[in-house]
């Protein structure tokens, strides 16, 4: 199967980022329709669509929207998670830069369905171009009565604000994002069942819906064409519906964002991205740095779907898909992954704060030729102490890639430890190596 462009259909048309251009392509028909529907009917369409969160966890979107109290007693908030920080992922950036009105319309529909008073788009600080495109679009929408008081004469009021982050991967975790939005260090908060769900008590202790950029962006299509139509996309998979944008990078000829229907094969995705560059396929990290790495045999025949990718040994994740060629040293790649998590751990809980540093220390020892026998078991032990014992998902996400790589590429780890050097020796592989020892990254 080839590309299926739904969200990205007009992403190459600069006019689509203007209100006139957006409306010329049918924009805001969905909001008009939604404002004439019962709130519950909107949520039911989203339920029928089978839409699952595109930020990484794949949680059914309608359950969040439905969880917001129907008897409104105070303010309700919406948050858009645009803190895209998962290594390998760059889809939200493109969506915001090229289709800002889709996000605004989607959030307004979600806001109406959940009686939201205000929405906040939390954008990672580096994405200034994306924020500028959204700023322009939001200002235009206000001027046209599509945001603010009495939207399209419906009596519904909704304000939409932009809030920028300042450099922290952890702020993509939803409760840490709320801390950050409220003006604190980006550390996660206690979660259900210890405290109520965010839909009951989220940001500023008010009912809150939080979704990823891509998730909200699907809403206009679901309202326009119906949930059943949306659910017909990806119907060949167990429980993944609609389209998904994959950010393909690494050793491919045409890196970029590719939107596919669920049920497409991973190898088809590779072909869309122009196939391998510089050597044969060796490994793939299909859903962002947090998901387990796959070898070429696992990739062959893997079908893209939440359950299907799990069967193939990995995850859909955020859709940050990195293909690696035969010159890649997996040990070095995993060392760099460990460095990322050690740098980004927020330091709140011991298993992750200490564990990610230990993983990096052991990986650094192996990578620099000083690996000891027993290091593989030590890595596994540390991983199992982090996984499931950390305060938030970052700890798990730090452990999975290391544990996963040992499972699939154990021979490379063993070789490196025994010989003090990588099993991969070529000019191309040398180009990837960090020559000097680790430099601390802020």
């Amino acid at each position: 199967m080839g590309e299926y462009k739904l969200l990205l259909e007009h992403s190459h048309d600069p006019a689509y980022a203007t209100l006139a251009g957006y409306q010329a392509k049918g924009g805001y028909a969905a909001l008009k329709k939604a404002l004439g529907m019962e709130r519950q009917a909107i949520i039911d369409e989203v339920k029928a669509s089978g839409l699952r969160g595109r930020g990484g966890a794949g949680f059914p979107t309608w359950i969040k929207w439905n969880g917001i109290p129907k008897d409104k007693k105070g303010k309700h908030y919406l948050i858009c998670n645009a803190d895209e920080g998962e290594p390998g992922t760059f889809k939200d950036k493109q969506l915001m830069e090229t289709t800002p009105f889709l996000l605004i319309e989607g959030m307004t529909i979600a806001g109406f369905a959940t009686q939201g008073d205000a929405g906040y788009i939390y954008i990672r600080g580096e994405f200034v171009d994306a924020a500028k495109a959204l700023r322009k679009a939001i200002d235009e929408a206000y001027a046209a009565g599509l945001l603010g008081k009495n939207i399209l004469g419906s009596g519904y009021d909704f304000d939409l604000y932009i809030h920028l982050g300042a450099g922290s991967y952890e702020c993509g975790e939803e409760s840490a994002l709320m801390s950050s939005l409220m003006g604190e260090r980006g550390m996660p908060r206690l979660k259900f069942p210890h405290v109520p769900l965010p839909t009951i008590s989220g940001v500023w202790d008010r009912p809150t819906v939080i979704n990823n950029v891509e998730t909200y962006t699907c809403a206009p299509f679901i309202i326009n064409n119906g949930g059943n139509w949306y659910a017909s996309l990806g119907a060949s998979t167990k429980n993944s519906r609609g389209t998904k944008i994959f950010s393909v990078s690494g050793h491919v000829n045409k890196p970029g964002n590719y939107e596919i229907e669920f049920g497409t094969s991973l190898m088809d995705l590779l072909e869309m991205a122009g196939g391998m560059k510089g050597g044969a396929l060796k490994a793939c990290v299909p859903g962002g740095s947090s998901v387990p790495i796959m070898n070429a045999q696992q990739c062959d025949g893997a079908i893209i779907g939440y359950e299907e990718m799990a069967e193939a040994g990995s995850m859909v994740g955020s859709g940050g898909c990195m293909f690696l060629n035969e010159h890649t040293c997996i040990v070095t790649f995993i060392w760099r992954t460990a460095q990322f998590y050690a740098n980004e751990s927020c330091g709140k809980c011991t298993p992750c704060r200490e564990g990610t540093k230990w993983l990096l220390q052991i990986m650094e020892r192996i990578r620099s030729g000083g690996g000891r026998s027993g290091d593989i078991e030590l890595l596994q032990e540390v991983c199992s102490q982090i996984d499931g014992r950390s305060f938030c998902g970052l700890g798990d996400a730090a452990a999975w890639p290391v544990a996963g790589a040992i499972k699939v590429f154990r021979d490379e780890f063993e070789y490196f430890i025994e010989h003090g050097r990588s099993i991969v020796q070529s000019a191309e592989s040398a180009r990837m190596l960090p020559e000097s020892p680790v430099v601390a990254v802020s």
């Binding site: 580096e126 003006g183 990290v285 990837m432």
Partner: protein, 209 residues
């Protein structure tokens, strides 16, 4: 009487800096922007991050103690709290003066496998500085950073609010020359852009009138 009781039994949070201790440097426009931002949130505390961005612009790209104290004073938070927040986030320059241009080199996964460490080596030797250091002439600060989420252009670097990639040595030579010749301080310009996108067009206009 126990010492705690003498101090007052309630656990009082540290107080914000007092006005007379400060030299306030926010411009009129900055004050108005901060006022506009206050209307965006149900609690003033939410303005700490945007307030720090304003300060990073107003103080020439570096958040020293005075800058943090001014943010604390204007938002009625303690100095310790604002400092704690500012130092958590990597884009606030609290540790080193960044120079006129902060060159952020991504060496994360996709960039790593596309030769980012060679770009990093080249820049270190060409500029004669390492991670977190600024050249003696105050032009460039070098920083090794995590994924900038533009991996389709790996290896990627960011200077101010602009992304560049894929880059190589020749590309970097050209870019450094251009940056040197440009009159702009991209660190300050980026902070300004980040403030500008958070206030509405009309709010921005009113502030800079």
């Amino acid at each position: 009487m126990s010492e705690l009781l003498q101090l007052g039994s309630v656990n009082q949070r540290p107080q914000p800096p007092k006005r007379e201790e400060l030299t306030l440097r926010f411009s009129d426009a900055a004050v108005k922007e901060l006022d506009a931002l206050r209307t965006h949130y149900p609690e003033e505390k939410a303005c700490v991050l945007p307030g720090l961005w304003i300060a990073q612009r107003e103080y020439g790209g570096f958040l020293d103690g005075e800058a943090l104290a001014e943010v604390a004073y204007r938002l009625d938070r303690s100095y310790a709290e604002v400092e704690g927040v500012a130092t958590f986030y990597s884009m606030y320059n609290t540790a080193h003066r960044p120079g006129r241009h902060k060159i952020e080199v991504c060496t994360c996964l996709s960039c790593h496998v596309n030769g980012a460490y060679r770009v990093w080596d080249y820049l270190k030797s060409k500029l004669g500085v390492g991670h977190g250091e600024t050249t003696a002439d105050g032009e460039f600060m070098l920083e090794e950073v995590e994924c900038l989420d533009a991996c389709d252009r790996a290896p990627v670097i960011q200077v101010g609010d602009q992304y560049y990639g894929p880059v190589d040595d020749a590309y970097m030579d050209r870019l450094l020359d251009e940056l040197r010749a440009s009159p702009v301080n991209t660190v300050v310009q980026m902070a300004d852009s980040i403030v500008a996108v958070q206030v509405t067009g009309p709010e921005r206009e009113a502030a800079h009138r």
